[in-house]
């Protein structure tokens, strides 16, 4: 039997169309008769719209409508805003009333025959406001916000107070904006009472559910098409107001309408990772055993949605500790609505917690890895459940060995390469594994090809490739002869690409649908004239290498599947499957783990800090697609470099306008910032999550990078950066530098 393709370096099946430009992203779809909607956004941070003067704009050439709260007609709220299939990112539909909750909120839409006409009209709409003083920083709110979430075991306060070794530090991560390359955008096309939306979304099914509810039309009349997504990072998990605007406007002007969110409004109307402020207190024995963790996290949210970043997610389980308290607070401000961004909660949470662990190591004069090993959690102490599979110790050890960690000398500035000072850091990565329910359909065609379809989507992570690999694994049909079809709500329902759960969720359904269609094929083989197996017992047959053959015999002894279909004179055989969560999920704690090792170079003469190399070892279950898997981890580490050293959305405290709302001023890592990177997968299948043992890998790579980098920075410079990003002025503030 041919070796399985699972875990091998299969080249992305959608790679060619992407690099040749043939892949159509949302607003690329050529739609006959399309007109353009250009949004107009508020220029105050808080207040009321007192007048909208459209008299000039309305008379401009090509203008079809100027829509706003006074004339747009109803858009509805969803019934259960946070439920699967009706999760709207911003629960308030656009133009609901005359209130402005944040700077850059949609207040009107100019619709015209051409983009230029719409843009020109938009700039001639005069909006008057009654401005109120916006709350733009958490310090603007005097009263203590209530605790929204609280976890406790043991008595962390007393244990902390009695601990001989204490760390008490507050860490801040700034607002980060997702900034996927492909901007948000929608083309809405009505055909009678039915609407089709060309979208860029991480969840076609959820998008369909939301649009059905907000437009007030039956769900079967809503069709979402999103074949390619130029990345989402969490920002495209659920619909944002522009999607509703496009649908509403198209209904109003009776033409297809395209609304593309400009980069500047990507900073206000489509989410961000909120700033976090986290106080971490660690109490420990003199030999570094944790006695208490008190983790208090706070983040701002919008006036519209209570979005909690959940920084304390990993706190109760990542290290072994008898006494843990973790709390979360929310502060409502006049800013756009936050939403999950890659590795939500755990990414800023682990930055704070692992930074504190490193500060403890420094205080105890212990190796930072040693402190982690001394507090290694053998089981999940938050749920008292065993881990389904945990090899974090091996991640640390393999990483340390490959990185050369034993050569690390602890003194600040003690390591050099020529004139450059080196700093080494390491950190723990963690992400919880989850598998939900999905359906899938697999088709075997008489032309010798297979097709697999599911209403999930590939947001650039490799889902097309993963589902093709699974079908190939089951049928033996080579990946090149398998067509993967995703990103369309009319296909069998599949999961949102979020929470790193899409792979673990989809592959059981694809595997089961493959087995079902094979079963149909074997039944067909025994009843078809001319088939060598005519009259045989189907249970004695099998399919491999794309052929039907006797169980136990070589595939070459059998017949190619397409031959049987031709003999039967059928175009294709098709089967579906529906699968649910992991059967034993409540008996285990399912998590992925990893370890990062990083090196920075510091040139104190010119205050220049650059990352020189990174090494990541991942225990993320079995890897299905080696290339796209590695790509996820390396890309996440790049994002971690951005988070640690560059990214920050800067709001003007006077009106909460994001000042650096463009790609030149909002800094992310460029190629020149990316050092030599390495990623090692331990590749232990998870015995609980499913047949393939695959846990998700989309987000875990980002957790633990920032603290590893601030640790390395401290090691090189002696400056402990507790408020990201690490900036030149923070490094220069230390007189010794």
């Amino acid at each position: 039997m041919a070796a399985s393709v699972v875990g091998t370096a299969v080249t992305r099946v959608d790679g060619r169309v992407k690099v040749t430009g043939a892949a159509r992203y949302a607003v690329d779809h050529p739609i006959e008769g399309v007109v353009y909607g250009v949004p107009i956004a508020s220029t105050i941070g808080s207040g009321k719209i007192t007048a909208i003067d459209t008299s000039v704009a309305e008379k401009m050439p090509g203008v079809l409508a100027i829509l706003h709260h006074g004339n747009c007609g109803p858009l509805f709220r969803t019934a259960s805003p946070f439920e699967q299939d009706s999760w709207m990112s911003e629960s308030r539909p656009p133009f609901e009333d005359d209130t402005v909750y944040y700077y850059g909120q949609f207040v009107a839409l100019a619709v015209a025959n051409t983009f230029e006409q719409a843009l020109d009209a938009a700039s001639h709409v005069k909006i008057s406001y009654r401005e109120e003083k916006p709350l733009t920083r958490m310090s603007d709110v005097a009263e203590q916000p209530p605790v929204r979430s609280r976890y406790a075991r043991g008595d962390a306060e007393s244990a902390y107070n009695s601990a001989p070794m204490k760390i008490d530090a507050t860490y801040i991560t700034p607002t980060e904006t997702h900034n996927p390359m492909e901007m948000h955008g929608t083309i809405a096309v009505w055909n009678g009472d039915k609407v089709t939306l060309y979208e860029t979304t991480q969840g076609v099914m959820n998008h369909q559910g939301v649009m059905s509810q907000t437009l007030g039309v039956p769900i079967e009349d809503v069709h979402i098409i999103s074949p390619f997504v130029g990345s989402g990072f969490g920002g495209k998990l659920a619909p944002w107001p522009h999607s509703l605007l496009a649908a509403m406007a198209a209904r109003r002007v009776n033409r297809p309408v395209k609304v593309s969110v400009p980069r500047s409004l990507m900073f206000t109307t489509v989410g961000h990772r909120p700033l976090t402020e986290q106080r971490v207190r660690l109490g420990a024995t003199e030999d570094g055993k944790l006695m208490a963790i008190v983790h208090e996290a706070k983040n701002p949210t919008s006036m519209i949605v209570d979005f909690m970043e959940r920084c304390t997610g990993p706190t109760p389980m990542i290290y072994s500790c008898p006494n843990v308290t973790a709390t979360e607070q929310l502060v409502k401000l006049n800013i756009g609505t936050p939403c999950p961004m890659r590795g939500p909660g755990r990414t800023p949470g682990m930055y704070a917690l692992d930074s504190a662990m490193d500060e403890l190591a420094v205080k105890l004069n212990l190796d930072p890895m040693e402190v982690r090993l001394r507090n290694y959690a053998e089981k999940d102490e938050s749920s008292n459940l065993p881990f389904s599979s945990k090899h974090l110790r091996e991640c640390y050890q393999t990483g340390a060995e490959k990185f050369g960690w034993s050569k690390r000398t602890p003194g600040v500035g003690s390591m050099r390469d020529g004139s450059e000072i080196l700093g080494w850091g390491m950190g723990t990565a963690t992400w919880d594994a989850y598998r939900g329910g999905s359906q899938a359909r697999v088709r075997l065609s008489a032309d010798g090809r297979a097709r697999v379809s599911c209403a999930t989507q590939d947001i650039g992570t490799g889902t097309y490739t993963v589902v093709a690999i699974i079908v190939s694994d089951k049928t033996g049909i080579p990946v090149e002869r398998i067509d993967a079809v995703l990103g369309d709500s009319s296909l069998p329902p599949g999961p949102t690409s979020g929470g790193s759960a899409a792979t673990a969720t989809v592959i059981p359904a694809v595997a089961a649908a493959s087995m079902n269609v094979i079963g149909e094929l074997l039944k067909l083989a025994v009843i078809t004239d001319g088939s060598p197996f005519n009259g045989a017992d189907a249970t004695t047959l099998a399919m491999s290498s794309g052929r039907v053959h006797k169980k136990g015999d070589a595939p070459e002894s059998g017949v190619p599947f397409e031959q049987l279909l031709k003999l039967r004179r059928v175009a294709a055989l098709e089967a579906e499957a529906k699968t649910g969560g992991a059967p034993d999920e409540d008996k285990y704690s399912m998590h992925s783990f990893g370890a990062h090792f990083v090196e920075v170079g510091w040139d104190p003469g010119i205050a220049r800090l650059r990352v020189r190399r990174t090494l990541t070892v991942m225990d993320a279950g079995r890897i299905i697609s080696e290339k796209s898997g590695r790509n996820q981890i390396l890309g996440a580490v790049v994002m971690g470099i951005g988070m640690a050293m560059l990214e920050e959305t800067i709001y003007d405290p006077r009106n909460a306008k994001p000042l650096n709302n463009n790609y030149a001023d909002y800094l992310v890592a460029t190629n020149a910032d990316i050092p030599e990177q390495e990623c090692i997968f331990l590749d232990y299948p998870d015995p609980v999550i499913g047949e393939y043992g695959a846990r998700g890998i989309g987000e875990i790579g980002l957790t633990g990078v920032a603290s590893a980098l601030t640790m390395a920075t401290y090691h090189a410079t002696g400056v402990r950066v507790r408020d990201l990003p690490i900036r030149i002025e923070k490094l220069m503030a230390n007189r010794a530098v």
Binding site: I606, A607, N660, D665, I728
Partner: protein, 323 residues
């Protein structure tokens, strides 16, 4: 963006005769037109003008046409060999795609990246004289510590112009009243009470070319740009140095800085401190101190003062090491 008329000029005289706004690479002008910061009624495309050559000048220097692209200038053999600082400055700016479009004339005339200048919802004395300056009390990390006034503290963002300042470049212009030339240092104006007036160019006047003087044998030069990320970011502080060392002493030196001034900032004070002195770190530091003596920090940009000093010291170190 506002509707505008568009014409193409084929000759310099023809361009000057049209009263319109010139567009060369468009990487500044079109960007700002999209933001409604620039609202020309008439745009004149000058890309067909025969100003795209780099030629040897009679005095041994270099004559650079206003339409020479930044990439081509950076990679020109004479520039790489003799005016290293200019090649380095160009290559440190923007991105390869932008440099392929950007021109010599356009680069000199690029506008500030001040957040408030780029957003018409804010007051700005540069955009609307007398309306006020939100940067002075705002987030001014990227703003100037040298040359600012109570009306404007915006930095001139060019890297190329900093190198040209250290190279004592001449700017050649042509307008309806004829041709003229001026030293680059005098081309730019301090903001004072008229921050909207950034240079001496008259409306409709065209930059035709710039000339670089010949450099004495043995002259070394270097450009060092310091910023948060490794590429594709404007300077927080930069230094261009052109230096001639003789027997361990600095015979002649030109020092200019970027990212810290309201214009590309040449420091004659620093040059005076250093000339005739031994080429060593201590003297470089003294020159750097002189260069920033008049610096005035704002709330968020105080670190630039020390950073610029370090840029000057390191640039001199590197340049003289090769001497």
């Amino acid at each position: 963006m506002q509707p505008f008329g568009f014409t193409q000029a084929k000759t310099v005289d023809g361009a000057v005769a049209q009263s319109g706004r010139f567009v060369a690479g468009g990487t500044t002008l079109i960007d700002l037109m999209k933001l409604d910061v620039e609202t020309p009624r008439q745009v004149v495309d000058i890309n067909l003008l025969p100003l795209d050559r780099v030629e040897a000048a009679p005095d041994g220097g270099l004559k650079i046409g206003a339409l020479v692209r930044n990439s081509d200038l950076a990679n020109h053999p004479d520039v790489k060999a003799r005016y290293t600082v200019l090649s380095e400055a160009l290559l440190s700016g923007a991105s390869p795609q932008l440099r392929n479009m950007a021109t010599t004339g356009g680069n000199l005339l690029q506008r500030t990246r001040c957040y408030y200048f780029r957003d018409t919802n804010y007051a700005c004395n540069k955009r609307q004289p007398g309306s006020g300056c939100p940067a002075i009390d705002g987030f001014n990390r990227v703003h100037a510590v040298l040359g600012g006034s109570e009306n404007c503290v915006a930095t001139h963002p060019s890297d190329m112009a900093v190198a040209m300042m250290a190279l004592e470049t001449l700017v050649h212009m042509q307008g309806t009243k004829g041709e003229r030339q001026i030293a680059l240092d005098d081309f730019y104006l301090a903001p004072g009470s008229t921050p909207d007036k950034e240079n001496v160019l008259e409306p409709g006047e065209l930059i035709t070319y710039v000339t670089l003087p010949a450099l004495a044998a043995g002259t070394k030069s270097y450009y060092l740009k310091l910023r948060d990320r490794a590429q594709y970011e404007f300077a927080l502080a930069s230094a261009a140095v052109v230096v001639q060392v003789d027997g361990g002493r600095v015979k002649r030196v030109r020092i200019a800085m970027g990212g810290v001034g309201t214009k590309p900032w040449r420091s004659k004070e620093a040059e005076a401190v250093l000339e005739g002195k031994a080429a060593n770190e201590q003297n470089f530091r003294a020159a750097a101190e002189a260069a920033l003596r008049d610096a005035k920090p704002l709330r968020y940009n105080g670190f630039k003062i020390e950073l610029a000093k370090r840029a000057v010291v390191r640039a001199l170190m590197v340049a003289t090491q090769n001497a």
